[in-house]
Symmetry: C2
Subunit: 378 residues, 2 copies
């Protein structure tokens, strides 16, 4: 109230003093500018709401962020050896993309090659290490999107393509289509010289045991008429919805995102989750951001997670951190879904956001600052 | 300048005149309110931009709008008999949904049963009358979404399910999944007692001839190294991307949308278009609108057509008509795509929007006013 006690606005008849008039007009303009600035600053404050998951940095030349799945990943259930193994592959993966970006490569190449490292590791539910379907097969999905052209590629339900993200990329680059599926997608992969493997390449004992436990659990569930119970077995839950993904910004300002997965343990009926769905599992747009999702795919489709984050930035003018928080916690989360996203925006701001106990994740900026994390609270 | 010539703002030391002070504070508040009102009015003006395709009405109790595909549909290529046949099925379809809504049925039931009528007609590229794949099979896709719960169901690449929209509905209602595909989806359909048919149920001579022409055309294209040439054959182009779809608002204020298709003539590699993709071919949200798409599916996925219209309403506060115009003409259209949408918003406003020469379409409001149209300019 101190300013009010000293000054007030008064409307007075105009006197013929031009000098005074000019001063007062200037003052009026100043006041209006101040009002406007206040309003802008208010909207900025709400959009730069500090998020624990926001990774701070100075407008970087390039940036890369990855995930290796989200779920009930608790430190108490992890051995130091297992933790070290995850950290090592996450670091190898992100450094692969970082080197490409540092040397002036494209975000699309960084995303593809970074995901390849995680697909080739049995630790993650993508490529080698994919979970088993109810029919004891491995059916893999992937998608990729180019933020510059809004071109995209995806494949669903392949059993012989070693690196599904390469197939998604080939669909984008070498076909008029966005999404191919099943045997047809494998024929396309063969026609385009992709690396094919026998279906048992994807076998890992760990994942096969998960399927057996899931089936045993399902019998109990059916007996108890409670089809959701398997979600409470942490080991199954972890790999029920795991994926790998990457989002990157390159030196030319081009964004890209990609996602690859084995889907959910014990899946049947040719179930397709969010990973190969553009707008749900993957989205990139140079005007906004690049996003890769991981989690309970059905909820990520219903909440349109990846595109909704972009749309909120585009139409509401909020920051990536705020959009990601809103979509994961207040939209997808409130529907009942669990999981998270990694994302980078056109300014190189990187975000991890998830509503699970953990998410395998890493980020690197153009200074080479690396962050590799697993649990909610490191 | 007349007010400036009479009055001006002046900052003066505060005098101990409470009455005057109150008057001046009231004046200041009035001025700020005026400023704010101006700003609001400006943003409202931009959102109520008149659209030719907007169907006017008084806040109706319910509303329903359908399409039967968009393409190069020209009056000069149409016989009166063919035109009458299309109009008759469009009218039968929309009256089916109208009756359900009028009797207090749900928008989901109206959407499903309305689409069934078009699926059962050989005139449209969905159900009976679906186009042929390169392998001379019919592989059908569909999706449906409930705007009240944001639940959704979809199926891709089925060959024996008579009404794919019923399968999408069953996936939504009776499984924890959103999207099923191929043989697995057919197993699910069988387990849930859906109407199954032999694959040759979908055979129609007309569509088989289209495939033959497309293949002949492709040979010419391959000779000329121009894989896009078939897009210039109007007969092929018409049914290359046709679908059927419906969006409805019921008396309880619940929105729903659904889409069903045979995909594109001569498709291969297990290609999946936008029809079964939630957010691209179909989207419904009680907070905004319900949308069903038809057109060149790849562009509808890349532009996230159905969800983008909803997001623009939600975050930018524009009208359905304005959002639909922007997405079809300035976003999807500028990427190079062709096609259109039908949509209804939470207030019962209905919109047709397309950038092709025609779209089979119809609408009915709660007064029973019916509109059945085919060409761009009726």
């Amino acid at each position: 109230m101190s300013s009010v006690s000293k000054y007030q606005l008064k409307i007075v008849p105009l006197k013929a003093n031009n000098n005074l008039l000019m001063k007062r007009i200037t003052l009026l303009i100043l006041m209006l500018t101040l009002c406007y600035a206040c309003k802008e600053s208010k909207s900025e404050n709400s959009s730069t709401k500090d998020s624990e998951t926001e990774l701070k940095g100075e407008t970087p030349e390039f940036a890369i962020v990855i995930h290796g799945g989200a779920g009930t990943i608790l430190k108490k259930n992890m051995t130091p050896e297992k933790e070290a193994a995850y950290n090592a592959v996450l670091e190898e993966a992100i450094r692969t993309g970082y080197d490409i970006l540092k040397n002036g490569g494209t975000s699309l190449d960084a995303v593809t090659k970074t995901i390849n490292v995680m697909e080739d590791s049995p630790l993650f539910n993508a490529g080698k290490g994919s979970v088993f379907t109810n029919a004891e097969t491995n059916e893999l999905d992937a998608s990729i999107m180019d933020g510059q052209t809004l071109n995209a590629g995806a494949s669903a339900g392949t059993t012989t393509v070693r690196n599904p993200i390469d197939l998604a990329r080939a669909v984008m680059d070498n076909s008029p289509h966005v999404m191919l599926s099943g045997k047809g997608a494998e024929t396309f992969a063969q026609e385009h010289g992709l690396d094919l493997v026998a279906p048992d390449y994807f076998y890992t004992e760990n994942r096969f045991n998960s399927l057996k436990r899931a089936k045993d659990q399902e019998k109990i569930e059916l007996d108890h008429d409670d089809q959701q119970a398997s979600f409470y077995d942490p080991e199954i839950k972890n790999f029920k919805y795991g994926t790998v993904g990457c989002a990157a910004l390159d030196k030319n300002g081009n964004l890209a995102a990609g996602t690859s997965t084995g889907g959910m343990t014990n899946k049947r009926w040719g179930r397709i989750g969010d990973a190969p769905i553009i707008g749900s599992g993957t989205y990139a747009n140079n005007e906004t951001c690049a996003v890769s999702s991981t989690g309970w795919g059905e909820y990520f489709i219903r909440a349109q997670v990846a595109h909704d984050i972009s749309a909120m930035i585009e139409y509401k003018g909020v920051s990536l951190a705020e959009a990601a928080y809103e979509v994961i916690h207040n939209k997808m989360g409130k529907l009942g879904g669990t999981g998270g996203i990694v994302a980078v925006d056109k300014n190189g701001e990187m975000v991890f956001e998830f509503n699970t106990e953990g998410m395998y994740r890493a980020s690197m900026n153009d200074q080479g600052d690396i962050k590799v994390e697993i649990y909610e609270k490191q």
